[in-house]
Symmetry: none
Subunit: 286 residues, 2 copies
DNA sequence: GCGAATTGGAATTTTTTATTCCAATTCTCT
DNA sequence: AGAGAATTGGAATAAAAAATTCCAATTCGC
C-alpha cells in the first residue's frame, strides 16, 4: 500500500503534531523529499524530533526510510507510458500529457503503417529497388526530406541515386529514366502536382514507379506500379506533417534495412561512409 | 530527466573513482538509494568524499540531491510495450523480427530521449525560442534534415528563420547573429566541425546557443547555453542515423507543439500555410 | 622538464538524524 | 473525582551522515 494513501487514511485519528506533519507530506510529497527533518519541522510548525517520531510510528527506522517510501509511492503515480495516450493535443494540455499524446501518435502512425502494408508488397518494392539501375527519388515539402534521407542511405550503399530538391530538376531527371530505372515517389496526399507529374512521366518512360502515399484513393497511387501506404493522423498533432513524415520514415528505414540485409557488401559500404565522414569530426579533445 | 542514462553515457570518460561509483549507481540504483555516502564508499572501495564530489561534478549540491535524481530516474524507466523487441538487427533475422526490432529501437530512442531531458530544460529552450528575434538552424548530414524539418515548421508559424544546407552559408549567417538571436544546433556526436564552428561563432556574438546532442560530453555541448540531449542506438540499426534522427525529431516536434500552444495565432498561421499549399495539389478528379 | 590542473583520500567541520530526558496532557480504572 | 498510567511532543544531547578543507600524487599542457 502506498504510504501516501496510508497516511491519508490515518490523518483523522492522529494526534495534532502527527496530523500536521502527515498532512504536509500528503499534500506536498515533492517538497517533502527535498526537506531535511528540521526543515520539515519548520514548515509544519512542529519539532524536528516529532518528524522523526512520526516516521517511526509509521513503522520506519527513521525519516530517511520514510522518504524512500514516499519516493516509491510517488513513482507509482507516474503515468505508465506503455499504454500510451491516444488523443488530440489540446490547447490546455500540460507538458506530460502533450508528451504522451505526441509519443502515442507517433507510435500509432508507425504501427498502423506497418499493418496496412503486407510483406508481399514490401518484398515487391524491395525487389524493384534492389534490381533498379538508377533510383530517382521525388517528393515535395515534408516528403522531400524523407526522400532526401532515403537518398542519403541508398547512396551510402553505393547505389545510383538521383535526387534534387528542385522539382524542375526532378522533372528533368525523370525524363532520362528508362525501363531499368525506378522512381520512388513520396506524397502523403498523393496529389502534389510536381510529384504527380514526375510520376506520370516516369511511368510513360516505362520506369517502375513505387508510390509511398496515404491510404485514400489518389492520383499518385493510380499511376504507380507498386503502392506502399502510410497512415498518419495530422489532426492530432497540429497538421504539420509530423505523423505522416514518421510513417514514411518507418517505411524507408525498413526498406533500407532489408536492402542492407540483401546486399553482401553493404557493411563495407556503410563502414567506408563512416570512415570518410570521420575526417569532418573534431578530434577528441582530452 | 534520467541521471542514470547520463551517468551511463559518461562512464568511459570518467576518472577511475568516478567510474566505479557511477557504475555502481547505474547497476544497482535500488541499493544505492538505501546507502549513506559512507556506505556507498565502502561498497565501491572509494572514499566518502569521492562520493560527494561525484554528485557535485554531476551538478548536484550533494549526495542527497543525487539520490533524489536517481529516485526520479527510476520512476521513469519505461518497459518495452508488447509487440516490440529491443535488440540488434542480425543478418539472418526474418521480416517480422526486423520489423519488431526496428520499431522497438525507434520507440526506445524516443522514450529515452524524453527521459533524459527534464521539463525545466525543455521550458528553458522553449522560452529562448519563443523570445528569439531570429532563429538560425545548423546541422550537417542527417541532422541537416532535422534542422530543415524544424525550420519549415518554425516558418509556418511566421518566425524569422535562417536555414541553409550549405555550411558556408550557415557560417555566414551565424556572423550576422546578435544577443537577441538564437542558434539551434543539431549534432548527435557534437563533434561535426561545421556545426561546432558555427556554434562557437554564434556564442562569441552573444546569441543564445541551444544544442541538441548526444549524452556524452562533447565540444558542442560545452559551447551551448542550453543543452537538450538525444539518445540513439546506432549499432542496432546499421549505424545509419535512424534512431539518432528519430530522437532529434522527437525533440523538435515537441518544441514545435509547445510553441504552437504558446502562440495565440499559431492556428491561423498553420491554416494559412495549408491553404497556400493547396493550390499546388491536384484537384479531386471525381 | 616544469608549472598548472586534476584527482582523490584523510582529516576536519558542518549538518542532519536519532535518541534521551522530562514536563504537560490525556486516558483509564477504581 | 482522583490517582496512576500512558501518551504527547519539545528541548537538549548524542550519533550519524554529509560536506568541505587540506595536501600529496598524478596527469596535463606548454
Amino acid at each position: 500500500m502506498s504510504i501516501l494513501k496510508k497516511i491519508s487514511a490515518q490523518l483523522e485519528t492522529m494526534a495534532p503534531a502527527d496530523r500536521q506533519i502527515g498532512q504536509f507530506i500528503v499534500d506536498k510529497p515533492d517538497q517533502m523529499l527535498r526537506l531535511s527533518s528540521a526543515a520539515l519541522a519548520v514548515e509544519t510548525g512542529r519539532s524536528q524530533s516529532s518528524v522523526v517520531k512520526f516516521s517511526q510510528k509509521l513503522g520506519y527506522a527513521g525519516y530517511q526510510e520514510l522518504k524512500l517510501a514516499v519516493s516509491e509511492a510517488k513513482a507509482q503515480e507516474w503515468p505508465a507510458p506503455a499504454g500510451m495516450i491516444h488523443g488530440t493535443i489540446e490547447v490546455d494540455d500540460g507538458y506530460l500529457t502533450i508528451l504522451q499524446k505526441l509519443l502515442g501518435s507517433k507510435l500509432q502512425a508507425m504501427q498502423q503503417t506497418i499493418s496496412v502494408n503486407n510483406e508481399a508488397d514490401i518484398e515487391k518494392a524491395l525487389e524493384a529497388l534492389h534490381d533498379a539501375r538508377r533510383i530517382h527519388l521525388a517528393g515535395v515539402g515534408a516528403s522531400s526530406l524523407v526522400a532526401r534521407d532515403f537518398s542519403y542511405k541508398l547512396m551510402k550503399l553505393g547505389r545510383n541515386v538521383l535526387h534534387d530538391s528542385d522539382s524542375h530538376v526532378q522533372m528533368a531527371n525523370a525524363s532520362t529514366l528508362g525501363p531499368d530505372d525506378l522512381l520512388f515517389a513520396l506524397s502523403y496526399s498523393g496529389a502534389s502536382i510536381e510529384t504527380l507529374r514526375i510520376a506520370e512521366l516516369a511511368s510513360q518512360r516505362k520506369a517502375t514507379v513505387i508510390a509511398v502515399t496515404g491510404l485514400q484513393d489518389n492520383p499518385l497511387a493510380r499511376v504507380a506500379d507498386i503502392r506502399l501506404h502510410t497512415v498518419g493522423d495530422e489532426d492530432r498533432v497540429r497538421s504539420s506533417s509530423i505523423t505522416a513524415r514518421d510513417a514514411q520514415l518507418m517505411l524507408t528505414d525498413l526498406l533500407f534495412i532489408l536492402l542492407v540485409q540483401r546486399q553482401p557488401d553493404a557493411h563495407d559500404y556503410v563502414h567506408n561512409s563512416e570512415t570518410a565522414v570521420s575526417v569532418l569530426k573534431a578530434k577528441r579533445l582530452s
